[in-house]
């Protein structure tokens, strides 16, 4: 049930509003009721009382302006006098864009699938992102609430969907240890999510010295760690694919062979077996890489393959190897 209330409506308007709501009920996408504790509040801003309420709304309230003209150009507006069509349109839009069901309580959400499903997914030969941290992150990013993602024994991860940023303890890209990998590969039954306020997050950032990362960093890491060389579906191994853009390796821990894969997949359209063969990468590594690229949205499937044959003299190859070895002398990369 979706709820809303009103403030500073004049004369018969409260009664009129209730009747109109009943009248349009069947044409609404959701059920609505008048509730004095609702977050959504219709305010007559043509009255002094309404204006002052508009200036100082209660915390977390979402206000709808009620006036002859939308002079203040607010997104949520109901023209005076109330007409069925404008009311239907407004409420359906509100239902779609503004969360206004029963008051959202900060609650601990256990993700939905059954324990049996999760066990099955973990043992599966296929990588189903929705059963892992990466899927949880994707889901959070579709909403608007700042969310704390917690896994017992690991530091929390805070996601701010609107900014596509997250906060957590500093990640040493070249020293991701086994424990951290376990966190990034966590399955949804090990994860707890809780919405937090911006103020709470601010406090945590200060107290815990949290560091900001783009969400892509966490999506990449969690996909890489959970994928474990598994195709995303049975058909995935025969699909032709390419990259539409370079992964932003400045944001991700990477191995030099990831560079080779990216370079090859930007120029060629091939299936994973072809990619593995041409880049001398293990199939597992290719699959993990393509899964991570798919999660961050830079992988594209194609109908036909296209290979640009490139013959590099062996001496050149060995020279590049020597240069890379020299460069890696003081910069070490760990997956």
């Amino acid at each position: 049930m979706y709820k809303l209330y009103y403030h500073a409506l004049q004369k018969n308007d409260p009664v009129f509003f209730r009747s109109m709501l009943q009248l349009v009920g069947l044409k609404l996408s959701q059920n609505w009721e008048i509730d004095e504790h609702a977050k959504l509040i219709l305010v007559d801003i043509e009255t002094p009382e309404g204006q002052s309420f508009w200036q100082n709304p209660p915390k977390e309230a979402v206000l709808i302006a009620y006036a002859r003209q939308n002079d203040i150009q607010t997104p949520w507006f109901l023209p005076k006098p109330i007409r069925t069509q404008s009311l239907i349109q407004l409420l359906n839009e509100l239902a779609e864009h503004v969360c206004c069901e029963d008051e959202p309580k900060p609650q601990v959400n256990k993700p939905q699938p059954s324990h049996a499903d999760i066990v099955k997914a973990k043992a599966s030969n296929f990588f189903q992102a929705e059963y892992y941290l990466v899927g949880v992150l994707q889901q959070i990013l579709q909403g608007q609430s700042i969310t704390r993602v917690q896994c017992t024994g690991f530091p929390p991860l805070y996601i701010i969907p609107e900014e596509r940023r997250c906060f957590t303890h500093q990640v040493q890209f070249n020293q991701i240890n086994t424990a951290q990998k376990m966190f990034y590969a966590a399955s949804i039954d090990e994860i707890e999510c809780e919405t937090v306020s911006a103020e709470q997050l601010q406090q945590e950032i200060k107290q815990q010295h949290l560091v900001a990362y783009p969400v892509e960093t966490m999506l990449w890491l969690s996909a890489m760690c959970a994928s474990q060389g598994r195709f995303s579906s049975a058909g995935a191994q025969n699909k032709f694919m390419r990259l539409v853009q370079w992964p932003n390796f400045a944001l991700f821990p990477y191995q030099p062979y990831h560079m080779n894969l990216a370079a090859y997949m930007l120029k060629n359209i091939a299936d994973v077996h072809g990619i593995a063969q041409k880049t001398q990468c293990s199939l597992e590594n290719v699959v993990d890489f393509t899964n991570a690229c798919s999660i961050i949205g830079i992988l594209k499937y194609e109908q036909e393959h296209k290979i640009v044959e490139k013959q590099l003299p062996e001496a050149r190859r060995s020279l590049f190897k020597t240069i890379l070895q020299r460069l890696a002398d003081t910069v070490t990369f760990h997956k």
Binding site: W246, Y264, L266
Partner: protein, 177 residues
């Protein structure tokens, strides 16, 4: 190119960090030809390279990898053509806090067009902390318009890891791209 000459060329606009990038990986102090700027130029950098920067890295095989930096300003473009001769590939550094970073990139892509076609290039964008716009997508959009698939990474020219990442990507393109 002489058989024993292996070189990488860094180019990019004034203040983008070419000298710094070379210094971050060179095993010898960078030899540079930077001079005090007269007030004719616009950037607030005090010194500018007029001939080249030069650094070295000895490879395991005993061969040397030469690192050359070009002058940034277009006025010195005759040096660009001299320095790229025999280069393995090009590293383009763009200062994102400049007036028109995408325009700067366009100039280098035009000037080094043939060399990039023959070899390859990577783009490192510096000062993105102070100047987040244009963002990476805007660079990629521009490259796409030109039909190029070069990698663009935000980097810190002072960081060895950043510069190594650019070179790794460049070598990957040369070998697999």
């Amino acid at each position: 190119m002489r058989k024993d000459q292996i070189k990488l060329v860094f180019t990019g606009n004034m203040g983008a960090g070419k000298t710094t990038a070379i210094a971050s990986i060179s095993e010898i102090p960078v030899i540079n030809t930077d001079v005090l700027m007269s007030s004719g130029a616009s950037a607030d950098k005090e010194r500018t390279t007029v001939a080249m920067d030069y650094g070295e890295l000895t490879l395991g095989s005993g061969e040397k990898l030469f690192l050359y930096g070009t002058p940034g300003q277009q006025r010195f473009d005759y040096m660009w053509q001299i320095l790229i001769q025999g280069g393995l590939g090009l590293i383009i550094l763009i200062d994102n806090s400049g007036d028109d970073p995408i325009g700067d990139l366009a100039r280098y892509l035009d000037s080094f067009h043939d060399f990039i076609q023959e070899t390859g290039a990577v783009i490192g964008v510096t000062h993105t902390d102070d100047a987040p716009r244009p963002d990476l997508q805007m660079y990629y959009h521009y490259l796409q318009e030109r039909g190029l698939q070069l990698p663009v990474f935000p980097i810190d020219a002072r960081s060895r890891e950043s510069v190594v990442m650019l070179i790794q990507a460049l070598l990957a393109i040369l070998e697999y791209g």
